[in-house]
């Protein structure tokens, strides 16, 4: 197993870098609601608002890991609630494939996650981020796909 050195798990003080892709109409609005409700959750996940989870290119996920993300979250509207009618259904299929591929390659399962968060689910959003950050913290830094720069 030469060249494989990443065993660092649960480093003390490790703050994971997480990119959270949120669809504009549901999940980003849900995250706004979490804000309005003053819910507290870890600051590790930096949001990028995209128009629809359907516009989530697999390239974004792979690139984020390549640039050193310790975790990637994609969140969209619940099935049937998509502002664009069915973008989230395409997203579901694509993200499923990306997830299976990443797992096959050997990236830890908990580093990539998808969730459905509606505009009314501020509490759920905070919970999703909270849980995700906890899970990623357990894994330590993501070294497998990160580019050495």
């Amino acid at each position: 197993m030469a060249n494989v050195q990443e065993t660092a798990k649960d480093e003390p003080g490790f703050e994971p870098k997480i990119v959270a892709f949120l669809c504009k109409w549901c999940s980003s609005a849900g995250s706004d609601l979490a804000g309005v409700s003053r819910l507290q959750y870890p600051s590790n996940a930096v949001p990028i608002t995209i128009m629809c989870s359907g516009s989530m290119s697999p390239m974004f996920v792979l690139s984020a890991f390549n640039k050193g993300a310790d975790g990637v979250l994609v969140s969209g509207c619940h099935p049937g609630d998509c502002h664009y009618l069915k973008g989230n259904f395409y997203a579901r299929r694509k993200i499923y494939l990306v997830q299976k591929l990443l797992q096959f390659i050997g990236l830890e399962n908990d580093r990539f996650r998808m969730s459905w968060v509606s505009a009314a689910e501020g509490v759920k959003f905070a919970g999703v981020v909270d849980e995700f950050v906890k899970d990623v913290k357990k894994l330590g830094p993501q070294t497998r796909l990160k580019a050495k720069r």
Binding site: M59, N66, Y96, L97, L101, I105, G106, N109, M114
Partner: protein, 344 residues
């Protein structure tokens, strides 16, 4: 037994009548056992056409190349081109038709059966022959190949020297064909499909990563896999814009908007990204011709990687790549019943 003379006669007739402008097929190579793809343009040249277990290449690629060449030479010969197609080649052509890369009427498919066997794996054959040099290989009934070495002809069990993908092949007889030769044997898979993938999936994730890390470390980024893949017909690859096509209508903005998804240097992370993007882009399009793996100079098990998502296409989405040229593609369609439980 497939009648090669009949294939030849058909090809010859097509060229003589001028109904096609060329026949893409195989002929004996001057280097090694494997046949070489050849574009037959004159009726006499067809005498060299062969078909047998040495015809491993996916000729769909040569259709793609033919299209590129014709565009380059601004050819105005509107006649169709004929192509010899095994089951897998025909599936690849179906995917290309599905993606509107060709018009159906622009291609005359000469379907050929693999006779219940498949094509040879030269590495397996070399091991089997233990140093002896095969000069010819042919079908020998439904379960054996006739291999000619300096010692003469011997019959070897096909299952032992056949390409892995052929062992798992469920569609050895072309579904898409204007005319078909040989016996239609369906559902003749000798091994359980996706055997290697499933085996690999059972491994510990950390071990799987060690395995792939080793593979990606070796990648030279020679792009042979991409060059040999009939589905990699993009003018410019999204991960590596080495072939960026500057056309008369390319705007300055387009030139400026080339995204550098990965670095050019062949190191582990960048090669991993490259191969993963290829795997994702092949989801629902890869028809398992395994040419990528065959041509890889450093023996990266690319078939293992690329069939992982084909397994999902088949087993999760009930989607059989290359079976229906009129269906929407895997990723541009969905079902209400697609998996949902993986989403929190």
């Amino acid at each position: 037994m497939i009648d090669v003379a009949a294939i030849k006669a058909h090809a010859k007739a097509l060229l003589e009548k001028g109904t096609v402008r060329a026949v893409i097929g195989y002929r004996n190579s001057t280097a090694g056992l494997l046949a070489e793809p050849f574009v037959f343009t004159g009726p006499e040249s067809v005498d060299d056409l062969i078909y047998g277990p040495s015809c491993v290449q996916n000729l769909a690629l040569y259709l793609v190349n033919d299209k590129k060449e014709r565009a380059h030479h601004k050819s105005d010969d509107a006649r169709p081109v004929a192509v010899v197609a095994k089951g897998c080649d025909a599936r690849a052509i179906t995917v290309l038709l599905q993606e509107k890369h060709f018009l159906r009427e622009a291609i005359h498919v000469i379907g050929v059966s693999c006779e219940g066997t498949g094509v040879v794996d030269t590495k397996k054959l070399a091991r089997k022959l233990g140093g002896k040099h095969a000069v010819e290989i042919d079908f020998d009934g439904g379960e054996a190949f006739a291999v000619t070495t300096a010692d003469g002809v011997q019959s070897l069990p096909a299952a032992e020297i056949m390409a892995e993908r052929c062992l798992e092949c469920r569609g050895a007889h072309p579904q898409l064909a204007d005319i078909a030769f040989g016996e239609a044997k369906t559902d003749r898979a000798l091994h359980t499909p996706f055997q290697a993938v499933k085996h690999k999936m059972k491994e510990e994730q950390d071990n799987r990563w060690s395995f792939w890390a080793r593979q990606f470390d070796r990648c030279l980024r020679c792009y042979a896999c991409r060059s040999v893949c009939p589905m990699c017909y993009c003018e410019e690859c999204v991960v590596d814009s080495i072939q960026f096509a500057v056309l008369p209508d390319t705007t300055a903005e387009e030139k400026a908007n080339r995204i550098k998804w990965i670095e050019r240097s062949p190191n582990r992370s960048e090669s991993a990204m490259y191969h993963m993007v290829r795997a994702i882009h092949l989801a629902g399009r890869c028809i398992d011709c395994a040419e990528c793996e065959r041509v890889c100079p450093v023996n990266i098990p690319l078939r293992l990687l690329n069939t992982r998502l084909e397994m999902e296409a088949f087993e999760t989405f009930d989607y059989n790549p290359g079976s229906d040229m009129n269906a929407p593609t895997l990723t541009s369609s969905f079902k209400d019943t697609d998996p949902n439980s993986f989403i929190r």
